[in-house]
Symmetry: C4
Subunit: 265 residues, 4 copies
């Protein structure tokens, strides 16, 4: 994306909202610069790299899942419905944070940077990521379709409103509420399970309710769908996503072997 | 393959069929140029890259499986019986599309570009890929020997004429007929199962019949063999192949755990 | 880390302990040079490379696990609580060996080189690695959170004080005591299991006791946590970690299939 | 390994056996040149690359397993007891073929090229690879410790003298005797199982007997150990190793699900 590229349609016009809560008044080139960096730790680069890693773990196959990173008053997001292991920085959306309302995908409301490639929409997970940003002050939120998460919600059965496990070393990598102190080995980790909806966006309220009901939860499982995990930083979000996925996997194996998940008997 | 290479046998002669339905009248160097490109998204490059990726997923081990891409009036195909993770653009066959009849492997009928390396035959899957091109107007077709697909056809039993599953988020990545609108979460995905035959080519009619009987199906499972998946583009074919493979895998796990595949109980 | 970098805080001051048992009296730049090498087999480089490999094997996800290498009178260690697949040589701690007491994490006692990046603490596994160095004269010690190890301790049940298996070819890759002659095919491999504790550091005594009680053991399993494996060299430690992980995995499968672990019936 | 390197001990002296059956009378530099090539398809390079690939498949962890390639009157072999994913061309042994007797590891008999790195012994599998070369005229032989192979021999039980499976597409990738025509879909594939011995070398006669008794077998399973697979070329050996490993894996799954391996019911 050369410096001489110019926008050719309204959809590429950068953010100039009058009552801009973040104070972003960027012109086109300033908006493009937000996703152009040689620093591998820049959010636009990290999202691409991490999505490739998550693909290898089976977390984001079939275009599902992804990660959003909040840095200062900017939120970086992947597009919807694209192969997550193949996205490039130029495909990244940038939104201001905070916003007066939860951003709905496709509303084009309060966008700072929209990819030039036509037809791209921001991730359908946007309002769900937003829950983590507004309710937990998260710096990053990861969504996976890991089979361990989905199978666990099936093995636990329709009446289970949460996954609970204790006495596992990997519990110690999970923080109270996703952002507080880490749990201890003998603490019972609780991850609420909510029911899936036809449209991803419609999970927003259910996720928010579960987060309010379980303030100590570091993640929300969605039955027959996957999991949302967040953290203060992308590193903490990734660490917790790995620890939780490990616990989902061993939880499945323990259920299949008839072993109790809570306690050390 | 340098520009000074010259054909040394009749088998390398490019396509000059008199009643050429595609109007392709290429000389040798024009035919070679069809598979030489620096663009990683060129079909000849993509097939090689995707086969390496599919190998890592266990889809094309032991030389089985592969992908064919149709671009305009050209179909790009890998050779038969070679290690799919090691093919190079110079090994790719190019056929014109459409043709007056389904091309049979080894017939050398209507070939635009035949690899110079002697002994290579076009994939035995050619007529099956053709079904997807002619009956669904697909832009790409993927064939895998995924163990999830094969085990599923075994676990479902000999009397099952299809795999049916509902209430899975990954269903939403599959399109009606492979090319239409995406299915919804609570829709029942149906993938017909046909019986395997001694020769891959002899699957052609059975696959076509199943596609006619199940116009909404996005793929055809072949018992004790694998699956054929297609899409409007290679991206859609790959996305659907990943979503379906995910569903085959979780379907196996659900059957093994005694969980119903359809409904949300 | 350029040669002109200078320490800016006391925490970066290199080791100058008066009663230094190793005789290390290095200035800042000499200490930094201990982790700077173009040789891929240098311990600081090896730890980073091996942690990336172990991550792919699922041994060190979620910041858990790792490897420590002893070379001469120096011990190289990764930091605690960081993503192990992303550590760089500049993050490596260097400690003198031997020391008058087991080094406790965070004590900053007897440190030769502390990473400049603030907030890094040496691995909580430090005193456990030390057990392998002092009690077995090991040259390297690996700690994994492999699910095969954890599931095995669960499937064997709370009363099992050890994992025992015989008549497996991979047993031949394990050495008596981790450092002696290799076991034979029909020997019974015994890996003691100790109970996990709330803090990793508190495992130190339990691990030492098990090592004293089972002098022929090449590793110690920690229930609901993972495994510690050591060897004369990093190569032997890695080989034994792989052989043992293989045996833990097939041990789980055999238990799940109702097959006896010892004997060849 | 520079051209100016000179041998410094008798163990590096190239092959000068008086009654050399292959006519190889190479000086030191000629012998070294046998493993130095820029061609990735040169046997010394291929063995290293394929071992890295096999490591990812879990076939050669813990230094076990490997591949030997015969090219003309030379046999290329990896060393014994080293990490197979890390070997380099300079570690490769070269032996003449044929020899008047099966070469025994460590005998240093009839060696054309011995690696300069001291302490390396040729693979303990040497006489077993030799069986494939002499009895089937194979061009390559692969040995894996795949858990699918080992678990299969355990699930089939001590009385099973062979693994038999039919009606699987992947059977079509296996050749009669490992080198003849490919099997058909509905043929019954038979892979003999022999009992393991304390020393790998002592498997030689048992493997030879099974190969004589089952002339159509393309591989020999060794209970509680792994499998030996061969082919006319390294490509055919690899293809067959992949097809067989696939069949071992799905065979295990079918046995665990109570499905019959032979027939299509």
């Amino acid at each position: 994306m050369g410096a001489t590229d110019t926008p050719t349609s309204g959809s590429r016009t950068p953010y100039h909202h009058e009552d801009d809560p973040t104070g972003c008044k960027l012109n086109y080139h300033e908006a493009e610069a937000l996703v152009e960096s040689d620093d591998p730790e820049h959010p636009a680069n990290l999202i691409c790299e991490l999505c490739r890693e998550f693909y290898k773990l089976g977390w984001v196959t079939g275009t599902g899942g992804g990660i959003s990173i909040k840095q200062g008053n900017l939120v970086f997001l992947a597009p919807s419905g694209v192969q997550k292991e193949r996205i490039k920085p130029e495909h990244i959306f940038v939104l201001p944070y905070p916003q007066s309302a939860v951003p709905r995908p496709g509303s084009k409301r309060d966008m700072i940077r929209v990819p030039k490639k036509t037809g791209l929409k921001e991730s359908a997970c946007t309002p769900l990521f937003w829950n983590a940003f507004t309710m937990r002050n998260a710096g990053a939120c990861i969504h996976t379709h890991s089979q361990h998460a989905v199978l666990l919600t099936l093995l636990l059965g329709k009446k289970a409103d949460a996954f609970r496990i204790s006495h596992q070393e990997m519990i110690k990598g999970v923080r109270i509420g996703g952002s507080g102190k880490t749990l201890r080995f003998f603490d019972t980790l609780t991850v609420p399970i909510i029911e899936n909806t036809a449209d991803e966006e419609d999970l927003t309220d259910g996720m928010a309710e579960a987060m309010a009901k379980y303030p100590d939860a570091a993640a929300i499982l969605v039955r027959r769908h996957g999991v949302y995990v967040w953290g203060n930083t992308w590193e903490q979000a990734k660490t917790q996503a790995e620890c939780l996925d490990y616990l989902f996997e061993i939880g499945c194996k323990m259920l299949q072997a008839g072993l109790p998940l809570v306690g050390d008997d």
